[in-house]
Symmetry: C2
Subunit: 373 residues, 2 copies
């Protein structure tokens, strides 16, 4: 009986239906297509433990390696060619819940996985994969009333261009012509652009669901390009916020207030940003406390109490990050702000790093705190 | 002197700065980055004659071939590896003006060009390249008032899903709460989806420019997925329009009329489609003359006079195609319709085939003819 079991396991291992991870834990063979695949594509797949499996057709290639995560910090997953000439491979361990960028290096060249949808990150359109999260319900597409995400092209004299922004308007927007809404200006991170918060962030679905559950009063979200991608890491010391601040405060905000049903005053205007967008949020809000009343930094630095001394009309400071980042820095900063009398809130996303699951959760935590007065 | 010239030409040829095309005409070395490249990417490039030049990094690859056009009908452009390990190549001849889909076959696998933006066509996200057209001004991004393109998620009981549509609203939409607009329902072709008309078609910019020049009265455009991509070529005989017609007429149109400032009646509703979207337009308009008053088929079949006998409230039939398709079929059909007393207009796009430049021009010709009464 024991012999039979061992034989069966050997057969299963040889047939590829049972594998063991680096940690020795068996990899469950319940792989399903990632929800971010292109229509009709089976691969990449993910399993219930968070492993990802890839399949790339390139029969004459010499090497195919999948790189997951910003800067390849999670290491590469080399694929092996099977007898059909197809390259396949599974990550050596489970991945964090949520969204990850990745690409495929084929014979030394960097390409996207033809099976996956593309998302703008690392200053290029990258492949995206989604590890189902235990709390994915809050950004799921449900049968509830949906707001719209609209592309606007606004004139920018300072840059001499028509610039793009995306505007989330809540369900029912425009039905009551007299109704006006507060506005959150929400920034992406370095390497990303104005598509990030709707595409990989699901900001619109997070809002739709919060509104449907009655957890927030509807507001508008405006997302535009933060002009961050010309800045190299290490060049941040010399970063000049002026060009972006001019576009945002002097050009975009007046355009939004002229073309949407906004509450066009400081108490009804918030700014938030992730990573480098947090750094921009910090600089812009410190420069222009007359424009924004609610400030939020998502994995993007902190405020010290002395930074905010002149901010008498400040309503809320929200600071967050993932538990795999520097949560103590976030918590300590908020304790100091509270001690100094500010309305400050910290949030730490459990089990996530400097990635979009941290920021989806941060938006979900932030939204109910905005525009309460 | 003559010797010197020949030497110079030889040097130029050997140094790669002067090449000759298949036809013997010299290829002009005025290549510039395609306007559809990803931010900051130099390649692919196009020159003033319509040649395209590609550059792919894949140092260990055995073969790299660029495939241009639907089904590779334009043939492949094999790239050659230079001394830096970079693959480069130029098309063997000039390409038609306008937008083309393409992909790159690397060691037998199909990938996108990391330099180019992606567009949904051939049932996948493909690379896109733009050959500057002599008439590109009509879809250029100009410093004029811009309308918005908004994503709506509408409930569909018949399919049990939230479905996506994009809605173009003209500049100033919503300012005058009492103003209402006619609506054009505009369909993509096989292999494409609801993103096609805004992304590769520039439908929004065509409208913005026509409105800025006072050539049309503003109207709304609605674009949704035509459910065409499950249909294989050759299976068209058995094509059932019912599921899509239900989504369009019974679900999307009521949603649009409930949520936008529309003129919600038959005289103010048009339907148009390209290629397989034209076939769908033909079927839906023939089934439901009570819903639409203006019909347009762009490279998507024709109407015969007897098809329209019961269509007493028909205002306009517009039929178009490229000169490299079957222009005589389009012209003859319109002559027959006119002879039978219908308000019919034909349009043939000079020098273009079954591609988006034909359809951009068709929309530009069609828009001023819509909703005139």
């Amino acid at each position: 009986m024991k012999l039979f079991s061992i034989s069966l396991i050997l057969v299963l291992i040889l047939s590829g239906s049972l594998c063991f991870s680096q940690s020795g834990e068996p990899v469950k063979e319940d792989f399903k297509p990632s929800v971010l695949n292109q229509p009709g594509k089976e691969y990449p797949m993910v399993n219930s433990q968070g492993y990802a499996r890839f399949r790339i057709e390139a029969p004459e290639a010499q090497s195919v390696v999948v790189s997951l995560g910003l800067g390849g910090t999670k290491g590469g997953t080399p694929l092996a060619k099977n007898e059909d000439g197809v390259w396949m491979g599974t990550t050596s361990g489970p991945m964090d819940e949520g969204f990850h960028y990745y690409h495929v290096t084929i014979d030394g060249g960097v390409f996207n996985d033809p099976g996956a949808l593309n998302y703008y990150g690392s200053v290029r359109w990258e492949s995206g994969i989604e590890i189902p999260a235990h709390d994915q319900d809050f950004y799921a597409l449900k049968d509830v009333p949906h707001g719209n995400v609209q592309q606007v092209l606004f004139p920018s004299k300072s840059t001499g261009t028509s610039r793009r922004a995306f505007v989330y308007t809540p369900p029912g927007y425009g039905q009551d012509k007299a109704k006006r809404y507060p506005v959150l200006y929400l920034q992406h991170g370095w390497g990303e652009d104005e598509t990030a918060w709707s595409n990989q962030g699901h900001a619109n679905l997070i809002m739709d669901n919060l509104i449907a559950e009655g957890k927030i009063e509807p507001f508008i979200i405006v997302m535009t390009y933060g002009m961050t991608n010309e800045i190299k890491f290490g060049g941040l010391r010399n970063f000049d916020i002026t060009p972006f601040q001019t576009v945002l405060v002097d050009e975009l905000i007046p355009y939004i207030d002229a073309n949407f049903q906004t509450l066009a005053d400081q108490p009804n205007r918030a700014m938030a940003g992730l990573s480098m967008g947090g750094m921009e949020t910090r600089m812009v809000t410190l420069n222009r406390p007359d424009v924004f009343s609610h400030y939020a930094l998502l994995s993007g630095g902190v405020y010290a109490p002395e930074d905010l001394m002149d901010h008498s009309n400040l309503k809320l400071v929200f600071i967050s990050c993932g538990s795999k980042e520097r949560p103590d820095g976030v918590k300590n900063a908020v304790v100091a702000l509270k001690d100094a009398g500010y309305n400050a809130v910290s949030y730490v996303s459990e089990g996530t790093a400097h990635e979009f699951q941290t920021w989806r959760r941060s938006l979900y935590q932030l939204a109910p705190l905005l525009f309460k007065e």
